[in-house]
Symmetry: C2
Subunit: 508 residues, 2 copies
C-alpha cells in the first residue's frame, strides 16, 4: 500500500539504525573494555553487522519504499520530519547502493585489522608494520571510488561521506584563507613567546586525582549518570548507543594536566549533540548527524570556546587548585588561563594549541589528496610528512610514532581530517551568534551557569539532528556561509590580549 | 554448486553466529556498563539483532544448503566436524523454522522490558508490578508452543531448548529420585546442625578486599587477562563474545564472604567451557554449547567440587587469612572448609548450600509445569511459591522479593531451571571419573595445581563444543546415563564426614 510507505520505510530504517548503533557499540567495547585477544572475532562481528545493515539499506525494497514515500511527502516543508526522512534516505540510498555489500563488509573488517596493526606499529614506531594495511586501505578506497561517477576531484566523493555537500575546491579555498591568516599570527605570537609561562601544567598530576577533577568538570557542565558514561582510553572518542546512552572517553597524562580535562570537554561536546537529538528521531537517519564539521563544532565549542575561555577558569580554577594545592597553590586563575592558551608548535595534533592545530590539519588534508590522487608513494609518506612538519610548524619529527603514525584515521579511510578544521570555523561562527543571543554569557560562564548556553545549542543545533547540511545550518542559524573570518578574529583577539600583541599584529 | 554447499553453509552460519554473539554482548553490556536510561533502545537493538539472525537462519536458502550439505556428509563419522555441523544445523533449523521471525523478535523485546520491570518489582517487592510482564511472557511462550506439533507434555518443547533431547518425564523421574535421597539426608544433617559453625563468614568483609581475593583465586585457577574480564553485577553470569573474549561476573556481599568467591568460581567454570571450544568452531553452531546441563556441570564442578572442597582450602586459606587477619586470624582451614559447607535451609536459591539448593530447583520445576499447563493462576504464584517453600524447606517467606521475585528467569522463558540440578548430577558423574583418571587429584588441588584437572576438562568436555547432547556426552565420557546416584553418594560422604553422621544416616 503506498499510503503505508512512510510507516514501512520508518520501520525498515529503524532496524538499520539499530544495526548501525550496535556497530558503534562494538567499536566502543573494543576500545574500552574488550580483552585484547578478542580483536579478530570482533572484526568479523563488526563486518557482519555493517554488512547486514548495508545489504538491507541498499535493497530494492528500500528503494521502492523511498520512492513511494517521496510521493507522499511531496509538498511538505523542507525541514518537516517526514520530508527530511525521505530526503536523507534518498541521498544515502543513491550513494550507498553503488557500493557492493561485499566491499562494505571488507572495508569494515579491514579497518578493524588495520587498527590493531596500527596500535602495534605506533607502539614500536614502525611504519613498515603499518604500510601493508595502509596499502590495503588505499586500495579499498580506490575500489570504493570506482563505484561512483567520476567527480571533479576524486577526493570529493570521500569528503562527501563526512561532510555532505562540501567540495574539495571549496574546502581548499577556505583552508588556504585560514592558513594565510594563521601563519603571521603565529609568527607574531612566537616573537613574544616569553609572555606566557605554562610550566605549572607540566608537573606530576596523579591520574586518580585528575579523574576526580574531570568528573567535577563534567558534573558542572551537566553530566547525567543515568544517561552518560565516562571511560579511559588511549585515543578519546565519543559514541552514543542511543540518545539516552551516551559514552565519552578521555585519557590522563601524568605529567600534563590539561590533556584529560580538555579531551573530556571535547568529547562532552560531541556527546551533548548526540544526546540532544529528539527522541522521535532515535531510530531514524534523521537522528544521525552526518556533517562532521557540525559535530566537531560542538566539541570545539566546549573544549576551546568554553574550556579554554577566561570565564570558565574564573569559575573552576578554585576547585582545581583545591584538588592540586601543591602544584597550583601559587598560581592565579588568570595565569592558568594564559597557560592553557599557550601557543607552541608541536609534534602531536591532539596536543596542539588552538592556533597551530589547524596547520596539522592542513598538512593532513594535503597529504590525503596526494594519496588519493596517487601523487605520493605510500612508502614515502613519512618523508613527505616530516618535510611538511618542518615547513609549516618548524619542528623536526624524531620518529614515526610522533609523526605519520600518530593518528589512526587512515585505517578507516580518507576525508575525515578537514572536518576538524571546519569545526573550528563553525564553532566561531556559532559562538559569535551565541554572544548576541545569550545575555551576559561571560558572566554566566564565570559563575558556572551553563544552562542558557546548553539551551541555545539544544534548540538551535542539537534538536535538528541530521536534518540540515552544514551549509544549510549555518545559513539558518547565523545567516552566513562557512567562513574563516570569525575564527581568525576570535584567535587574534584572544591571543592578542594574552600575548600583548599590537592590534594589527598578525594581519596581512 | 552442491560441492560448495558445505562451505556456503559454513559462511552463512558464521554470520548468524556473529549476530548471536553480538546479541549476547548487548546483554552483557546492559548488565555491566550501560547507563540505565539506555534500556529501551537496547531492547530494540537486541530484538533487531535476534530477529535478523533468526530470519537468516530459517530462510529457505539455509534449508537448501543444509539439505545439500547433508548429502555431502552422509557416511562421515557421527562426531566429525562436518557431520556435526550439518546435524546440529538441521536440528536447529527444523525447530526454529517453525517460529515466525516476528514472534522471535517480540519474545526478545518483551524479555528485555520484562527484565527491567522485574528489577524494579524485586526492589520494591511488588509482584503486582511484575505480573503483567509475566503474563506477557507466558502468553508469548504459549504462542511459541503453538508453533510445534503437540508433545507428550507441553513443557517438553521448552525443556528441549535448554536441554536438547531431554524429556519432562525423564527429568521428573530423576529429580524425584534426587528429592527422595536429599530429604532424609538434610533431615539427618539438621539434627546435628550445631556440628558446624559458620559465624566467621558473616562478618564485615570490605568489597574492595574481597575483589582482591577473588582475583587471586581466579589467577590461581587460570585467568588470562588477555582473554578474560571480571566485572561486578547484581546477578552474576558468564558470557563469551568469542573463545578469546570471555567475560565473567560476580557480586560482593559486605557481610557474607563466600558469596563473591563462589559466584566467581561458578562463572569461571562456565567461562572455561566457552574458552575451551576449539577455535575451528568459533563461528559455527558446533561451537555453541546448547546443553545447559553440561554447561552447568562445569560451573558446579568449579564452584562446589573444587571450590567447596577440602583440598582447595588447604591451598588457598592461608592467602585468604592473610587478606582478612582480623576476621579469620583464629580460624583454621578445616573450620573454614566446614563453614562453607554448612547446610541451612534458606530463602534464596543462589545463596543456598549444595544440598538444599536442589529443593529450590524442584520447587521451580514443578511451578513451571503448572504455569505451562495452566494449572496455576499467575496471580496466585506467590501463594503457591510460599506454600512449597514451607513444605520443602521449612522456611517462611517474608516478602516476594525473597520469594517468587528472586530470580529473573521467567522474563526469558520456562524450562531453564531444571538444568541447574542436572548440572549438579553431571558434575558428580564427571568428578568420579576425574578422580579415576587424574592421579593424586586431591594432592594436586591442595597444592594449587589445577593443570591436570583443566587438561582433563579441556580434552574430555570443552573441546567437543556442542557436538554431543548431554546423554551422548555422558555415554562417551563416563559410560553411564544421567543419574542422581553419584551426586547423592558425594553429598552423603562429604556431609557425613563434616557432620559426623552414621554411615547409613540419611539413606532411605
Amino acid at each position: 500500500m503506498p499510503e503505508n510507505a512512510l510507516e514501512d520505510l520508518r520501520g525498515r530504517l529503524a532496524a538499520i539504525s539499530d544495526l548501525e548503533r550496535v556497530a558503534g557499540l562494538l567499536g566502543w567495547d573494543q576500545q574500552t573494555v574488550m580483552p585484547p585477544a578478542g580483536a579478530q572475532a570482533r572484526a568479523n562481528q563488526r563486518a557482519t553487522i555493517i554488512g547486514v545493515a548495508h545489504e538491507r539499506f541498499v535493497s530494492t525494497e528500500t528503494g521502492r519504499l523511498i520512492e513511494a514515500a517521496a510521493e507522499l511527502t511531496d509538498g511538505l516543508d523542507y525541514d518537516s520530519d517526514d520530508a527530511s526522512l525521505v530526503r536523507i534516505a534518498m541521498r544515502d540510498y543513491q550513494k550507498e547502493r553503488r557500493v557492493p555489500s561485499e566491499l562494505a563488509a571488507e572495508m569494515s573488517a579491514s579497518s578493524t585489522e588495520a587498527h590493531e596493526a596500527w596500535v602495534e606499529a605506533r607502539r614500536t614506531s614502525s611504519f613498515e608494520l603499518f604500510l601493508p594495511y595502509l596499502e590495503k586501505s588505499v586500495e579499498l578506497r580506490r575500489r570504493y571510488l570506482d563505484c561512483f561517477d567520476p567527480a571533479e576531484r576524486p577526493y570529493d566523493v570521500l569528503l562527501d561521506d563526512y561532510e555532505p555537500g562540501a567540495t574539495t575546491a571549496e574546502v581548499e579555498g577556505i583552508l588556504a584563507e585560514l592558513r594565510d591568516g594563521l601563519v603571521p599570527l603565529i609568527a607574531a605570537v612566537r616573537e613574544r613567546r616569553d609572555a606566557v609561562d605554562a610550566g605549572m601544567l607540566h608537573q606530576h598530576y596523579p591520574p586518580e586525582e585528575q579523574k576526580a577533577v574531570v568528573k567535577a568538570v563534567l558534573d558542572a557542565i551537566c553530566f547525567d549518570d543515568a544517561r552518560w558514561r565516562l571511560d579511559e582510553v588511549v585515543h578519546p572518542f565519543a559514541m552514543s548507543a542511543s540518545v539516552n546512552d551516551v559514552r565519552i572517553t578521555t585519557r590522563y597524562l601524568e605529567d600534563f594536566l590539561p590533556g584529560g580535562i580538555f579531551a573530556a570537554m571535547h568529547e562532552f561536546g560531541h556527546g551533548l549533540y548526540e544526546s540532544g537529538v529528539g527522541e522521535e528521531h532515535e531510530r531514524s537517519p534523521v537522528g544521525r548527524v552526518t556533517s562532521l564539521g557540525l559535530h566537531e563544532s560542538q566539541s570545539r565549542l566546549w573544549e576551546n570556546f568554553v574550556g579554554r575561555g577566561r570565564p570558565f577558569w574564573q569559575f573552576f580554577f578554585p576547585q582545581l587548585q583545591a584538588q592540586f594545592p601543591k602544584q597550583l597553590g601559587d598560581v592565579s586563575a588568570e595565569q592558568f588561563y594564559r597557560a592553557v592558551n599557550r601557543v607552541e608548535p608541536s609534534l602531536i595534533r591532539v596536543e596542539a594549541d588552538e592556533a597551530t592545530y589547524n596547520l596539522h590539519i592542513i598538512l593532513r588534508f594535503e597529504l590525503e589528496q596526494a594519496i588519493v590522487d596517487g601523487d605520493v608513494q605510500l612508502a614515502d609518506l613519512p618523508e613527505a610528512w616530516n618535510a611538511r612538519m618542518a615547513e609549516y610548524l618548524g619542528v623536526g619529527v624524531p620518529d614515526d610514532a610522533h609523526g605519520v603514525l600518530q593518528d589512526p584515521h587512515w585505517c578507516f579511510g580518507f576525508g575525515y581530517f578537514p572536518t576538524y578544521a571546519l569545526g573550528n570555523l563553525v564553532a566561531a561562527q556559532l559562538w559569535r551568534k551565541i554572544e548576541q543571543d545569550v545575555p551576559d554569557l561571560e558572566d554566566r560562564l564565570s559563575k558556572g551557569d551553563f544552562t542558557d548556553l546548553r539551551g541555545w545549542l539544544a534548540g538551535q543545533i542539537h534538536a535538528l539532528g541530521g536534518k540540515l547540511t552544514l551549509a544549510e545550518t549555518l545559513d539558518r542559524v547565523v545567516g552566513e556561509p562557512l567562513s574563516p573570518g570569525p575564527y581568525l578574529d576570535y584567535l587574534r583577539s584572544k591571543l592578542g590580549d594574552i600575548y600583548g600583541l599590537m592590534p594589527t599584529a598578525g594581519r596581512t
